[in-house]
C-alpha cells in the first residue's frame, strides 16, 4: 500500500516536472472539441470560398471562351468581338471594368449582354435582358442590346462581354490575339468589399494562322457586316480594316 502511494507520488512529481517543460494534454474530449472546431473552420472557409462567397470568383472550376465571330458596328466605326464570362459561383457578381489586350487595335467601348437562364435557353426561347445601369456615356450597341458597365451577373447566368475595337494596324501577326480582363466585385456596399480581376485568357479572341484555308476547320474568322452578310477574314486586324474601309 505504502509502496503504491509512493509510486503514485513519484509519478505525480514526474508529471509536475514535465509540466514545466511541455504542457500536459487537455484530455481527449476537450482536445477533440478544439481540433474539430479548427478543422470545421477550415471546412467552412473552403465551402464559402468554393461557392464564391468570400471573394468573387465566378469562373472557378469552369472554362470560358470567346465567340468566333467579329461584327461590324452599326455606325461602321468599330468592330466587335465577344468573350464569355459565366458565373458558376453561388453569389451574384458585378462586372465593373474590362480591359482589352489586342496589339494593333484601340479599344472603343465595351458592353455586356446577360444571356438568358439555362432553362429558357434549353426551350429555345432566347431572352435578351437589357441591364439598367448608371452609364453616363452613350454607348454604341449592336442589335442584341449590350449594356454598359457595371452589370450584375446572377449565379448560374452567363455574361457575354462585347468589346468594340478599331484597328490601328492592318497586318495580323501569327499567333493568339486579343485577351480580356474583367474586374468584378459583389456590388456597391456589398460585404466583403473585395474585387478580383479575372483574365479570360483560356481562349483568345482569335488565333491567327496564315495557313488557314477552310472555314469548316474553324481556322478562319467570320466577320459579319452591317448588311448581315458574312465574310471570311484571315485575321482580326486585316478583316476589321477591310470592313471599316
Amino acid at each position: 500500500m505504502t509502496a503504491t502511494l509512493e509510486h503514485r507520488r513519484g509519478d505525480r512529481d514526474l508529471e509536475d516536472r514535465l509540466d514545466e517543460l511541455i504542457p500536459r494534454s487537455a484530455g481527449p474530449f476537450k482536445t477533440l472539441a478544439v481540433s474539430a472546431t479548427v478543422v470545421g473552420v477550415a471546412i467552412a472557409a473552403t465551402v464559402l470560398t468554393i461557392g464564391g462567397h468570400l471573394y468573387p470568383r465566378p469562373t472557378f472550376g469552369s472554362s470560358s471562351g470567346s465567340g468566333s465571330n467579329l461584327e461590324v458596328g452599326q455606325a461602321r466605326d468599330a468592330v466587335s468581338a465577344t468573350v464569355i464570362l459565366p458565373n458558376y459561383s453561388n453569389r451574384a457578381v458585378r462586372i465593373t471594368g474590362i480591359s482589352f489586350g489586342g496589339a494593333g487595335a484601340e479599344l472603343v467601348d465595351v458592353g455586356v449582354i446577360l444571356e438568358p437562364p439555362n432553362e429558357t435557353q434549353s426551350q429555345g426561347e432566347p431572352v435578351i435582358e437589357e441591364q439598367t445601369t448608371q452609364a453616363t456615356v452613350p454607348l454604341p450597341r449592336n442589335e442584341r442590346g449590350a449594356a454598359p458597365l457595371p452589370v450584375m451577373v446572377p449565379p448560374d447566368r452567363t455574361a457575354t462581354i462585347v468589346v468594340w475595337f478599331r484597328p490601328t494596324e492592318c497586318v495580323d501577326e501569327p499567333g493568339p490575339w486579343g485577351t480580356v480582363d474583367a474586374t468584378i466585385d459583389f456590388g456597391a456596399d456589398a460585404f466583403p468589399p473585395f474585387s478580383n480581376t479575372i483574365s479570360l485568357t483560356q481562349d483568345p479572341i482569335a488565333l491567327v494562322d496564315p495557313d488557314a484555308t477552310s472555314v469548316n476547320g474553324g481556322d478562319v474568322l467570320i466577320l459579319r457586316n452591317v448588311d448581315g452578310s458574312f465574310i471570311e477574314v484571315s485575321g482580326p486586324l486585316a478583316g476589321a480594316c477591310e470592313a471599316l474601309r
Binding site: R17, L21, I22, R24, F29, T31
Partner: protein, 296 residues
Amino acid sequence: MMHRLMNAVRRHRARLTVVAFFGILFPFLVVAPQGEGSRITAAVLLSLAAVCVLLVLAVNLSGRDPDAETRALDVAPDPLAAALFARWLRRSKHFRFVGGLSGATLGVAFAESNLTPVLVGLLAGIAVGGAMAEVHFFGQRHTSPRSAEITLRRLSDYVTRTDTAALITIAVAAFAMIAIAVADRSDQPKPLWSALAALAAVLATTGMQWAVVVRRRPALSVDLRRADDLMRRLAATQGFTRPAIAFALVMVSQSLATFANSTTITIAVIALWILALAWYVASRQSRRNLRALIDS
C-alpha cells in the same frame, strides 16, 4: 471503456482505413451495377465506411497516440527522457495532423484542376501545426518555485547543418526569384507571390527556431536538462523546420515553373518536388528518423 476503444482504433487505423476504402469503392463498382435490389447492401457498406472514417478521424483529432510511449522508449536514453519524449511526440503529431488536415482542406478551395494547392496546403498546415505545438503559453503549469537556467544556448546546437543550409539556399533562391519577377514586370503575380511565400516561410521558420531554442527553462537536474535539450532538438528539426523546408521548396518550384517553359526548368521543378518529398519524409516521426536525429 472509451479510452480502450480509442486506443484500439488508433492501433488499427490502417486496417480501418482499408475497410473504409473498400466500403466506399465496393458499392460503386460491384453493388450498384446490379440494380435496385442491392441498394440496401450499398447503404450498409457506405455506412460502415463512414463509421470507420469518422472513428479514425475522431481518434486522430483527440490526440490519442498509444504508440508514443513505445516509440519514446525505443529512442530515449532513460525513462525520464522517454516520458518527456512521449509527451512531445503526442503533442507534435496531433498539432501536425490538425494543421495538415486544415491546410489540405483549405487547399481544396484553390484546386481547380490540379492537386498542387492541396499539397501546398498540406505542407503549410503541417509546418504551422508543428510550430504551434511549440507555443507553450497556454496550459503550462508551474508547481515548483520559479527558477531559471541561464546557460547559453545556440541555434547551431539544436538545428542540423543540412536544414540550415537548405534554409539559406531557399532564401537566396527566393530573393533571386523576387528580383527577377520585379525586374520582369510581368502581369502574372504567381512567380512573385510564390517566391515571397518561400521567403516568408524561411524567415518564420528561423524565428520559430530561435523561439524554441531560447524558450525559458527552469533549473533542472542534469538528466532532465539533457532530455529537454533533445526535445528542443526534435522540435526545431522534425517538428516544424522540415515541413517548412518542404513547403518552401514547393513554393520555389512554383515560382520557377512560371518563369520559363524549357526542359531545364522542368527538370529543376521536378527535382525541387522530389527534394520537398524527401524533406517531408524526414520530418515524419518514424523510429528511424527519430533514431537518426538522436544519433547525429
